[in-house]
């Protein structure tokens, strides 16, 4: 049994990085996630596990440091919040193109533009539909608790190395800032250089006599070669869909209506479910944990018993598009959510369900 602690979500990410055996963290300050680097700089893992922690000159530099580290087979990560994540997008596209493993944490705040430092879920499209240029996807995990902020760092690295693909932890300012109990997993030692070379024979660790030189690139000038490369990426994304979809169902068995929500919003919906159930309304909560791959199959299965879905997001409605595709528009799907950094209350969510599906 791991160690029990009271921590902020952001601190849990930082602690989990050290415990997961990460080799490097590179970041640039931005609210509401600066505690991640502050925690690391205070803990000084470079004196204990040997993990490198560096404050970069920008988010652009930070993501490219991640690129360099990942290209050496190292377990490296960065974190930021919305405006900074926009800056990282070119680098993320390069990571995907060059098939490099990395974990990127987005503690989302309201936008567009400089926006607000309050929590939001308005970066769903950016995280799940590309964000950077080209035909690529990230594996996207959406934590709904401080516990998951910790756990998903470990899972994130596992997925990044399984698929050789960037992984995003799509959190928000509420989860990042709130304090909760968390059971920390036991520390995993960092891999030795020999272990890294064995696990990552493609890594640029210095050419030796036993192998050809390793090259990390995303450049394929011949369009037919580029097409083949993109097909290879597609196969990986399809494999994610088959093997690593994650979701949670809460009171769905007898549900006639469904909230679909992730992250903070799922926590709020859980309360709204209780309010509705207390009034005899059979509502369940379906919580996608991976936003890409989206749990479409499970949602479609569930939809046969459902009269209507309310997609509850802290945005104008972005995930709703994936829900509609998943249920093949067989049942009504509507959106409710506050945006711009405003958090909806369970009461508001319940009222929205009533006015949408139960004639007010």
């Amino acid at each position: 049994m791991g160690e029990l602690k009271l921590m902020k979500g952001n601190e849990a990410v930082a602690e989990a990085a050290i415990r997961a055996g990460a080799d490097g963290y590179f970041g640039y300050p931005i609210t509401p996630q600066s505690e991640i680097m502050e925690y690391l700089m205070t803990e000084k893992p470079y004196e204990t596990t040997g993990m490198v922690v560096l404050q970069a000159e920008s988010e652009v530099a930070a993501i490219n440091m991640v690129y360099g580290g990942a290209a050496c087979g190292r377990m490296v990560m960065t974190s930021s919040s919305s405006p900074g994540i926009s800056l990282k997008m070119e680098g993320i596209s390069y990571l995907a193109g060059a098939e490099l493993p990395a974990v990127i944490v987005n503690v989302v705040r309201g936008g567009p533009g400089l926006g607000t430092i309050q929590p939001s879920q308005s970066d769903y499209f950016q995280a799940t539909k590309g964000g950077g240029h080209g035909d690529y996807r990230m594996y996207v995990l959406a934590p709904a608790s401080v516990q998951e902020m910790s756990d998903f760092v470990k899972i994130g690295f596992e997925m990044a190395f399984k698929y050789l693909n960037p992984v995003m932890i799509l959190s928000d300012g509420a989860i990042g800032q709130m304090m909760e109990k968390v059971v920390l997993f036991d520390p995993i030692p960092r891999r030795t250089p020999e272990e890294i070379e064995k696990q990552c024979p493609w890594a640029t660790t210095g050419k030796n006599a036993n192998r050809k030189h390793n090259v990390i690139t995303s450049l394929l000038l011949d369009s037919h070669e580029q097409e083949q490369h993109v097909f290879k990426l597609r196969d990986k994304y399809e494999r994610m869909q088959k093997e690593d979809v994650k979701f949670e169902k809460i009171q769905c068995d007898d549900a006639e209506f469904l909230f679909v929500a992730y992250g903070s919003s799922a926590r709020i919906c859980q309360k709204a479910v209780d309010i509705a159930r207390a009034q005899g309304i059979k509502v369940g909560l379906f919580r996608p944990i991976t936003l890409f791959p989206f749990p479409s199959e499970e949602l479609l299965k569930l939809s046969s018993q459902i009269k209507g879905i309310l997609s509850v997001e802290m945005s104008l409605g972005q995930m709703i598009e994936d829900i509609k595709l998943a249920v093949e528009c067989k049942i009504p799907v509507n959106h409710f959510g506050r945006t711009g950094g405003v958090i909806h209350s369970p009461g508001e969510v319940f009222e929205a369900l009533k006015s949408t599906y139960l004639g007010g």
Binding site: E57, N64, G69, T204, T205, K207, A209, H213, T217, L219
Partner: protein
């Protein structure tokens, strides 16, 4: 006499450096990139550090350097090589790391990464090919394009009133305490080539001694972008580039010399 009688080991006076791959160079004939590559590889070979070296070549004509250099290489996004190299070196401090960047890359889009890696005193070698133009994209104005010099985006010559002055980034970087060794060389004559090779050797020896950034600028031609023959371009470089970018050491450590 048959050609086979001539090509014999005892007659060889010059041959392909071992660390070149078998791929023919894709640079325009007469371009300085190939010679700069060769000097770099000769130094790595002489120091016997092929197995300990990781190179980073970002976007620019030399983005394909990984095709030709038989060492572990990373291709980086335009301008970002110093950030990439920072992580590589910090995560593998016992390896030799270098960046190989053009002027657009190092002194325009990547200025921030360049200055900050230098200012942090990262312990790697930066090789800066200054040809005063964007070669890869077809000859647009670069941060180092000379006043009055023509390029496709300043077809009437660089008007400094409108386009600003060329950036002497090398002199600027030499001011930073994290930068240990700064020199400006060329590869257009045998003598210049010898000096460049010596500079590169010093740069890698400094890295072995963990001295911080060693910065080797190579003023080079882009005969295609400049729309000249190779010979014309070398002459033009001597007459126009060198007065503005004078060759020689700019920052030399007091004690250590190879």
């Amino acid at each position: 006499m048959d050609i086979k009688d001539i090509i014999k080991p005892e007659n060889i006076v010059y041959q392909k450096t071992k660390l070149f791959t078998e791929k023919p160079l894709s640079y325009c004939p007469g371009c300085g990139h190939g010679t700069a590559h060769r000097m770099l590889l000769e130094v790595l070979e002489e120091m016997n550090i092929q197995d300990k070296t990781v190179g980073i070549a970002p976007v620019g004509c030399s983005v394909l350097a990984y095709e030709f250099l038989d060492i572990d290489m990373q291709q980086a996004a335009h301008g970002r090589a110093p950030a990439v190299a920072t992580a590589v070196k910090r995560l593998m401090p016992d390896k030799f790391v270098f960046t190989y960047q053009g002027d657009g890359d190092l002194a325009a889009i990547g200025t921030a990464e360049t200055i900050h890696a230098c200012n942090r005193g990262e312990n790697f070698t930066m090789i800066f090919i200054n040809n005063g133009i964007y070669g890869m994209t077809g000859g647009q104005m670069a941060p180092t394009t000379l006043p009055g010099m023509r390029a496709s985006t300043c077809p009437f010559g660089r008007d400094t009133e409108i386009m600003g002055n060329p950036l002497k980034i090398t002199e600027l970087l030499a001011q930073l305490p994290g930068v240990y060794y700064v020199t400006r060389q060329a590869v257009h004559t045998p003598n210049a080539v010898r000096k460049t090779k010596k500079a590169l050797r010093i740069a890698f020896e400094n890295q072995k001694l963990k001295k911080g950034i060693s910065f080797v600028e190579i003023v080079s031609n882009c005969n295609s972008g400049w729309k000249m023959t190779p010979n014309q371009s070398n002459k033009w470089m001597e007459d126009n580039m060198f007065p503005f970018y004078p060759l020689g050491d700019i920052k030399v450590p007091q004690l250590e010399k190879v």
